[in-house]
Symmetry: D2
Subunit: 392 residues, 4 copies
């Protein structure tokens, strides 16, 4: 039986942490899911030929290039997957869209609101030509998060009354952890706010189906100078004796108001000792509530306020049943998924959108909505009048 | 062997939820602890003679009165324990202090900042005559909370960098739960803010040893009208067909800045379905962190950032060891304490302060510090300019 | 209004750990519950006058005696509460029953099967004269355990298929922890088996409503010699340089078969580092399951196999709702109870049985059923043929 | 740079649940790890050509065959990976070893002790010719399990005193779940005992470094007749109206004695409602203890008995740090792994053993040791004299 599916020839720009994760997604999706298109890992784009070649061999890309501009013009490329640091997203994405390529861009969509707006305009124009675009908020693809969204949409917890969202990490809690591009405002745009705060804002938008309309926020930098990194492995590096400035926020705390009127608390920090990747959200509704913590990513907690109080309690749902999102393609109940599965699901959803010619979510507009919240937090934080003194 | 200890003759005003809890403290403390004074449950004060008599018999008070003014003038009363709703605290406390009686007042100390300031002045004057005063933030007396305070003071988690505090309940999540005095601004002063928000502010002050100096806050009322209660048992009542207005906040969310510079998030709500009495605090320091949740009141979680990363993890400390605060007087390890034990510990600490002639903590000044935070939250919430619009 | 209730005049024999817990029960029950009789803490019986007097003053008993034989003959005593070590239970209980006194005896009911049988015969004879008897398996009175029993009886988990029960402690895990009477076969009868294994056998009987009919067991002693104690506080003591033999089991592991056919695993140990008082039971039924761990004594976990698999999960029920057993007399939801509350509930249930003239549970027959299981475990453990070699 | 590594050409027999998992391991290992050999997914062997072809395309195998005998004779095959039901393992494995192919065989190694012994003899003979063999107990490759083994070997918990091991599932708890080959003694050998009980025996052997030398056991079948399956997806199928007999055990409970003298409890069941894949082991040693539950596979709990009791508690170690086994090749801290990662690690370890010419573990001898325990449990269960009656 020959494969009659259309190919989807992908070029990926960047191959660090996110590039490795995206590659695993492209490689794995066709092995577990029936995709309506046939993705090909065609070109890996990097800055230096030899490193790109080594990465391509390891990650499974057919060829390499050091010139993304040339690649996006190639006729044999259908989709550009952008995994570079945030300050390069806008330029690559806009050019790719104008060249008629579908675009998947890692989050945060951009480093500034202006860039995000420009990207969104480009995406809207491209869409009229059938060219699609998507932002890589992969945590939406965790089965427990999908289930949370479904339950809210089905009215299982009633009207949304409150949201509490946190993204707690501790990889900077050690004051001697070295600098990286993630601590450089030029490259990263912001610190905890854009890197992980963006995730909990998007998660709130996704699960509630509402948008954050107003904020009051505080940004803090606890350690203002750190060793310059000599080597890196993932987020962890080794520093030397030279020191340099941290130019981004270490923690971002903000209150928010949702479009439906619900108040919310948000906290993003890289200084919460002991919390490794605790992306958490709890939504309290008028008839029940939901809670999720990425450190137990296969679990969703549900409290159903309509249960008999005698036997009501938070249900620890292991989201590994055949009826749960994405799960029938994987393993039997209780055989949990890991971090990278979200990237596989992202590929699945993107392929299905491309095949159907429909706008995938999160769209650039969804990404822009997140960017607007981040921008408002920065403005709020800069405005001293936001805080009321206790006078104590 | 005759008892050579001085008596401490107590009059308690009010005998509802808090009166029952205080009575259990007065009754139980001498049975498990060697007190330096001999407390006597002398007089119970209520509004109606027959109800007060029945309460006194049940709770173990020797006599009753319906006139607190008369009682505070009696020579055979040493201490007045005030368990009435907040709007009556200031009048009784100030009068009792002026009459030379030690005073224990339930939290919130008062319904308004002005009352709290007046009470604090009265307490300072009384103190110069050896008359002592204390606010009933009993959660300070939970062994795990005491241990948290000790560990911070000993530098076990380094410098305080961040605090996240929540007090989540759900007894109003059902929109048909009836009205009570706790939902009436005249009597309660505020809603979740003063009732439970006060606790997490005091807990933050106590555990960190710092004060909240600034806030940005939001107060929300989700259900503005409720059935008038026909009967009550504890916090739970039955409503009829008549309805009345809710005049207090249902949820209070605020950001805070501590005197040492650390940012903090606070949330107090009675609408978090499934959270019954989740008073939680997590303090992230420069070398470790601590977490507590009253729903597991015998547990303190500690992450020590100086542990070898290979075997580092949040330690679930069962705070029931003989070396833990208060525990040697109770049961063997793992035989946990309950809610009311805090009231027994409060009596113990108060008796020791009286015997030593030393200011017990939390003092009225400590209570005033909490009140100032609550007041600033109310002002912040009323100020529309605090929120920055996202423009999305 | 005068009290028209009959008095229930109690004499308690012994005043160590269990005596303190029982006293708290007698003192507290009338303060929170409407008892149909009026318990009086009349006489405390000890071996030495001065120590007994000091204990009586602290614990609240009206008078003391050093002669239990005399006390059980007194006309003004209605009930004898036996809190001494196990080897004395049979003699005191049988004599008291023959003297027409109701008897509450701490567990384990007796140190030998023969004693338990004699006690049960005495109880049956006494019962025909309206004299009642009860064994102090107080863990039955934990609200979450009562709820478990109710749910099984209501058929909520269907037919019982399997039981897994553990009682894990660690107070002997340190090989230098000193000897106590609990490690002396003469006084304690057995070690972990009778002290804590008895509890999980009774709990299994209570929750399932079935009896253990057969066992295969192993008893182990890990540390055969320990320092002789110089002082004690609770279970914890300080040892000197002298050493003495441990003559009881440190751990008891056994398989069991219930009368309804279900297989079960049991483990009782005092060597499980980090488990302080982890009395756990999980019952898997044909349509659901229940799990309990005393280290979270206010929680019962329920999995309802008839829930939609999409939202099914273990429910963490905080057993602090007004509808839960005993709770309406205590505090609002989420304000948990502690270890000693079981002793208060025991007094409540005993007083109600006495007033009604009905056999309280657990009866001596229930205690004998436990004793038979312990005895069979000892016989099985002594029988080398029970273990099948793997020949590996 | 050309690849100078030797190829490792693999033929896999079978492609159901285990075949899919093994394929993911072969595919993924080279992408994240530097392997010393270059694995090639050469041939997939199945019973029917068309199904095998479809599977090969999906799973990524270069060609297919319907004749395993032919394949094991091919010169261009280096290793045979056996993923068929247990009753076929011995024949294929012995033939492959004799043909000079390395062999990886899924657990349980065999359905009978005789087969396992034959396989072990064949493995020993083959080993003298440099032909290697390994049993697929992949749970050994979970990072938290590896860490547990390391900590025991390093003496971190002292001498092993007790083991408690459980493997709890619920996919048969519903009495209407259909039959499968796993419930057929001819094909599966046994039920819960061999399928999941084998895992906890191997895990005990691996983590403690000791062997189970004696057992006392009970096997139970709760539901003796079930619908014949009409279709299957993973472990879950749909049954029709026809019914057939269950010929294996539903639950296996046994006590064990380790070679070092420690007693242990084991339970394997597919009827524990709410437990989806709760493979749990807790090892109590003389100075600490370890606990693991596969439902939280990225977590190892450690209690260090030498910690100050004031701050001692079970440490919830997120086994996702760069220093943890296998982790540096994956993601940053807190970005957990899933079920299938064990299969990738298995490939890594096997490739390293092949390159080094060293016996990989678990060897067939390790597999035989497990088989001996299972066999002894079956004999013990069949021996009525093992159980001692309580006579109650």
């Amino acid at each position: 039986m020959s494969d009659t599916r259309a190919p989807l020839r992908v070029a990926m720009v960047g191959y660090a942490f996110m590039g490795r994760a995206h590659s695993q997604g492209w490689r794995t999706a066709p092995r577990f899911f029936d995709l309506p298109v046939d993705p090909e890992m065609a070109v890996l784009v990097g800055r230096t030929q030899s490193s790109a070649e080594e990465a391509a061999r390891t990650l499974g890309w057919a060829e390499v290039s050091t010139d993304w501009r040339e690649v996006i013009e190639r006729d044999d490329i259908d989709l550009v997957d952008i995994c570079t640091p945030g300050h390069t997203h806008a330029e690559i994405a806009v050019a790719a869209l104008r060249a008629g390529k579908h675009v998947l861009v890692e989050k945060p969509m951009a480093n500034t609101l202006a860039e995000a707006e420009e990207m969104t305009r480009a995406a809207q124009e491209a869409a009229s030509n059938g060219v699609l675009s998507m932002v890589g908020f992969t945590y939406r693809r965790v089965p427990a998060v999908q289930l949370a969204r479904q339950l809210v949409a089905e009215g299982r917890i009633g009207e949304v009354r409150q949201v509490r969202a946190q993204y707690l990490q501790d990889w900077l809690a050690d004051a001697d952890a070295p600098l990286s591009w993630r601590l450089d405002k030029e490259k990263a745009g912001s610190g905890a706010l854009g890197d992980i705060g963006a995730h909990i804002v998007d998660l709130t938008h996704f699960i509630t189906g509402q948008r954050v309309t107003g904020v009051a926020g505080m940004l803090d930098t606890f350690v203002t100078e750190r060793p310059v990194a000599e080597s890196f492995s993932g987020l962890h590096g080794t520093g030397g004796s030279e020191r340099g400035p941290v130019t981004v926020d270490d923690a971002a705390l903000f209150l928010g108001r949702l479009s439906g009127g619900a108040p919310a608390t948000f906290e993003a920090t890289r200084y919460a000792w002991g919390r490794k990747n605790a992306m958490r959200i709890e939504v309290s509704g008028s008839t029940g509530s939901l809670a999720f913590d990425f450190e137990e990513m296969n679990v969703l907690s549900l409290f159903d306020g309509t249960d008999d109080p005698r036997t009501a309690g938070f249900r620890r749902i292991l989201v590994t049943e055949p009826d749960h999102p994405y799960i029938e393609h994987w393993w039997p109940a209780g055989h949990g998924l890991g971090y990278e599965h979200g990237f596989t699901h992202q590929v699945v959803d993107l392929c299905e959108a491309v095949a159907a010619g429909e706008q995938p979510r999160p769209s650039f507009e969804d990404g822009l909505a997140v960017q607007r919240v981040l921008d408002a937090v920065e403005r709020s934080s800069a405005d001293r009048s936001v805080m009321t003194e206790t006078g104590g």
